[in-house]
Amino acid sequence: MRLTVSHETTYRFDPPMRGVVQSLRMTPSVCENQQVLAWAVAAEGAERGAGFRDGAGDWVETITHIGPVDALSVSVTGEVETIDTGGVLKGHRERMPPAAYLEPTRATAPDRALETLARDTVAGIDVGDVLARAHALCDGIEAAIRYTPGQTEHGTTAAEALALGHGVCQDHAHAMIACASVLDIPARYVTGYLFASEEAGGHEASHAWAELFVPDLGWVGFDASNGVCPDGRYIRIGSGADAQEAAPIRGIAQGAGTEALEARVQVDRAAQSQSQSQA
């Protein structure tokens, strides 16, 4: 599937900040699941630092603004050709040992309820059948945490979301990671884009899901918000132990001002004529 992305994030500071430093993880992963046809990350007025590929295979860049900064905008535009691999991350070069994803963070720490959910969900499934266990977890979490925007916020933990019984993709991914850690399955948080306008859903086009490490297959994506493994509608960007570590933009603004954030994301199928002209 050929998808176009347009994503603009604008920060406004009042009063202006002395300076802003951001770490950007906004470039699609290099893997067989997707081929980047065009991609540009722009931050007007900002100084760009040298980019690098981190141990998990993500492309990371630094931008800095020496103040006063009253507004800052990061815009992403691009076009990606995706294929459906049934959720398996293929041909992705990385150095990170999967075992480094077994330690929970504050957001993914399992409490008693998550432990119970994890154990009950996989009851009867062979310990060695990690793939079946992962699918069961995905279904179990989709049922236990209903997709409901507005009930949770950025700092909500997996345990809190399960207690609420409602959440969004971030909460689902955190709960997947928490349950996987109970079962000693390495798991991580993945950010990306989802083309979802064909469905009634109304999910954000900026999306997040979890990847679990399955022996023989490697990393496999699970999107408990939609009860599926990522397919051709998904563009993979980056990963981390939790939402904070994987965040597309991590920033520090220096100064006493307040920060207002506005994001606009559009993911579309590339015009039919375009793909036809290439055929």
Binding site: S23, E47, G49, D54, G55, T64, R95, P97, A100, G251
Partner: protein, 478 residues
Amino acid sequence: MGMGQKAGSPQYFNEMYDGAAVRPPYQGLEAWARDMPVDLRTLKQGEAEALFRRIGITFAVYGEGGDPDRLIPFDMFPRVFAADEWRKLDRGVKQRARALNAFLADVYGRGEIIRAGRVPAHLVYRNEAYEKAVVGIKPPKGVYSHIVGIDLVRTGPGEFFVLEDNCRTPSGVSYMLENREIMMRMFPQLFRENRIAPVETYPALLRRTLSSVAPAKCDTPPRVVILTPGHYNSAYYEHSFLADMMGVELVEAQDLFVEGDFVWMRTTEGPQRVDVIYRRIDDAFIDPLCFRPDSMLGVPGLMNVYRSGGVALASAPGAGVADDKAIYTFVPEMIRFYLGEEPVLQNVPTWQCARPDDCAHVIANLADLVVKEVHGSGGYGMLVGPRSTKEQIAAFADKIREKPWNYIAQPTLALSTCPTFVEEGVAPRHVDLRPYCLVGEEVQLVPGGLTRVALTEGSLVVNSSQGGGVKDTWVLAE
């Protein structure tokens, strides 16, 4: 009055006396100590204390806690190594520093030692000190831990054991330098009569070591700085002392900023690029963009510059995974695996209470063992079996049963003693040693280190927070 004959029990190796005979390295000190009148000794001791106070060196050795303004007692009786004794230590310490760095390069790279089944994966990858942000990064010259402090004890003429490794930012080297400085000032004739190898070269060697790991992007003479958490830190004196001695800037986080590909220092002549940062701030605090977002001590974006090759950090974040008390057990294995050599220095046999068999053995033999917390330091939260009451031992056994993975145990080592000035004259007191190995383009060790001494009679705990003092450490020239 004889010295050291009151060595207490002969089970302890006395570094000065072999029976009634003075061991060769101490021969130059016998007459000096014997002939020193009590009033001169008191005078000199007071002089030394005044000097230490004047220079302001009152900090506790890092991580030990205690009152930061308390002066650590300085004992004027030097601790001496013969040239051949030091040769072995020199070889052993450098070997260990090389192996520890090879281990770090490996666990942040391909993890061969884990694939080979020599070190359990979970001890490394699930270790609190393991930093995912360092995976796949090649620091300049492949060095992760640039200053390796190895804590050693001696139990016999040729027997040395490593108690622990310090790969992050081992402190106390300013004591090594100041102890020497003060001894030279107070007893210049001792330094004329004995051929004592110099330690004063340490700051120059440290600077050379740090300069040698400047990033490849650095095309000018590298600018080195020391990054301190600030003057509230208990080791601030050491930070400013080392900066002075090396002739480099001492900076706090607000003096540095990231712009473009590099880290810059604010100066009156405008921003200056910084190439090598000897940071005395813990991993969690060095960059709020990468680690703890609430850190006020760090430089936002620093890790990204480091990871893209714009600056060198000494030590590398995550270097602590090599000096964990659970990893310690595997250092001899690292030496064989990476260097293909046999360890020159032995580890202390260690029981891991996380293993049920070990735990049972430990609980059954608590009266003979020393038990430590895996992540503890400074002599807190430990049990010294032979010096504990039955009640203390029973209470500690309960703590181990509750959290076995939190404890390791070692036999009570018969730490060597060195003559020490005490109230009644001179008496043997137990000592340890921390040499500071420098790892850059070359691996170097100045002949000396920090000798800590347990000033309380019979005590085996040398930590300053538990009544320990320090001594000048001599290595006699060949």
